[in-house]
Symmetry: C2
């Protein structure tokens, strides 16, 4: 496998840009191809079989594009569909749940762990299960925070409204005296400051996207697949520059607008595509 | 066309239950077949062509079921896809925009009109255009309120958080001294009391679903298609009883839970189906 291939990232929509940013910061010589499934977003209220189907279609689209590794940025897809996706493609697949769980266990040092995520991720108990595989003595409390997503997309992270929502959602977790809180949805890092203020700044927040980026780095290192520096020697890499290619399945304009809000800029190269191929549809 | 056929209703998800309730109250002798496209909800952040495609698939599914009239309960689908849906099916199609616009013009009596809706409905300016077709002198202000949907689904309608969100969204509309405010999304009637308190109880709220129910009644009357009373003479009709059939495209359990929140009960007959047929998919 050539080391100069891009890393593929898919998400249910725009939230995965926080994972893209974490990967870009950690691996500035890599380039990326990002797919946001904006025609079918959100995944967080959908069922296992539907999320599996969407995840497989997205993964196949990116694999066909030629990638050296696939990051499933979406927590819901990571929680529900990782085994199905791994079966469907031959490229190595990294999700965000296991890296996030490992980072939380390290940081919490034996104390309780809190997880905030979408309804579907919480219902799957994927974080609880991943944490207890590492240390079955750790008590885990999961809480769905569905309003955090539209708050982040509205650009309301710093408002009193967002604070009131956060206090409502986090009140029980705050009482439980957790040793770490996992931000188990790609949108939540946008609300990081607020969540930290409400939980208390002494509670470490675990960004699963950052944890996944560390895992990607170590995987690429061990397989000698890190992009050679000469690939980009002539240019200073920037977030969203034209070495990174962004695809959405719908409403590119809205994606660009929210990207601006999340990253301070929008992609140079952004294209609307359809990922649901005839191949998949025969099974309907 | 036999008058004892059901009335078809589709919505992007669970919100259309407020339209179902309005229809049921106004037409207690009718029975209904409801489709919630929960696999692809929400429509409010999606593009014209995608909403058209979804709307056509839903309409064809219900037409194949045998209905005497189709109500597009979803404001976004009504705003974006009504012409495409009318072309695709032969049954009469009633949307919620025009009835809502007419009711608003009547009630506002020449004063300004406010409209709150999803991002896609606001961007389409469908209400403004429908209102100005009736009276081009009326000034219309539209405002997207995306957080209202998850607030309603969380069951947070009566909370301080919801009040803070409503004040943020409605502050400009309140200043404009509107003579009527259109609730241009099926979820918003769930927040009716709150919206009324924030706007001032002297501002009439127009429920587009109720307005559409009036239009359905008058259409059925004029075509002599009202269900004969004998159809249901042996039973007292109840909301969600087993004469009404509910379909969802995903996550039936979540639908039932939110239905309980919206209607105080959940459907007796609720079935998960797929509405995307091979027919449509050939065009990909």
């Amino acid at each position: 496998m050539p080391s100069n291939l891009p890393i593929g990232i898919f998400d249910s929509g725009v939230g995965g840009l926080t994972v893209y940013r974490a990967l870009h910061e950690r691996l500035p010589n890599e380039h990326f191809v990002y797919l946001g499934d904006t025609a079918r977003v959100p995944y967080g209220t959908k069922s296992l079989s539907t999320v599996e189907r969407y995840g497989i279609e997205n993964a196949k689209f990116l694999e066909a594009h030629g990638i050296k590794l696939l990051v499933v940025a979406c927590n819901t897809a990571s929680a529900l569909a990782l085994p199905a996706i791994r079966k469907a493609v031959s490229v190595t697949v990294v999700g965000v749940i296991e890296p996030g769980a490992r980072a939380a266990v390290e940081v919490a040092a034996g104390k309780k762990i809190g997880v905030i995520a979408t309804e579907a991720t919480v219902q799957s108990a994927a974080y609880t299960s991943a944490i207890s595989k590492i240390n079955s003595d750790i008590e885990v409390t999961e809480r769905a925070c569905p309003l955090f997503v539209p708050l982040a997309e509205e650009g309301w992270a710093e408002t009193e409204v967002a604070r009131a929502v956060a206090e409502q959602y986090l009140i029980d977790l705050r009482k439980r005296d957790v040793g770490a809180l996992v931000l188990g949805c790609t949108h939540y890092p946008i609300l990081r400051n607020l969540i930290s203020e409400v939980m208390g700044t002494d509670v470490p927040l675990i960004d699963s996207g950052e944890a996944a980026a560390r895992e990607v780095q170590s995987l690429l290192e061990s397989r000698q697949l890190l992009s050679p520096e000469r690939e980009v020697e002539l240019r200073e890499r920037q977030l969203c520059d034209d070495l990174d290619h962004f695809y959405v399945t719908d409403a590119a304009e809205r994606f660009a607008k929210v990207a601006e809000r999340f990253l301070g800029m929008s992609p140079s190269i952004l294209e609307a595509v359809e990922v649901w191929g005839h191949d998949e549809l025969r099974t309907y």
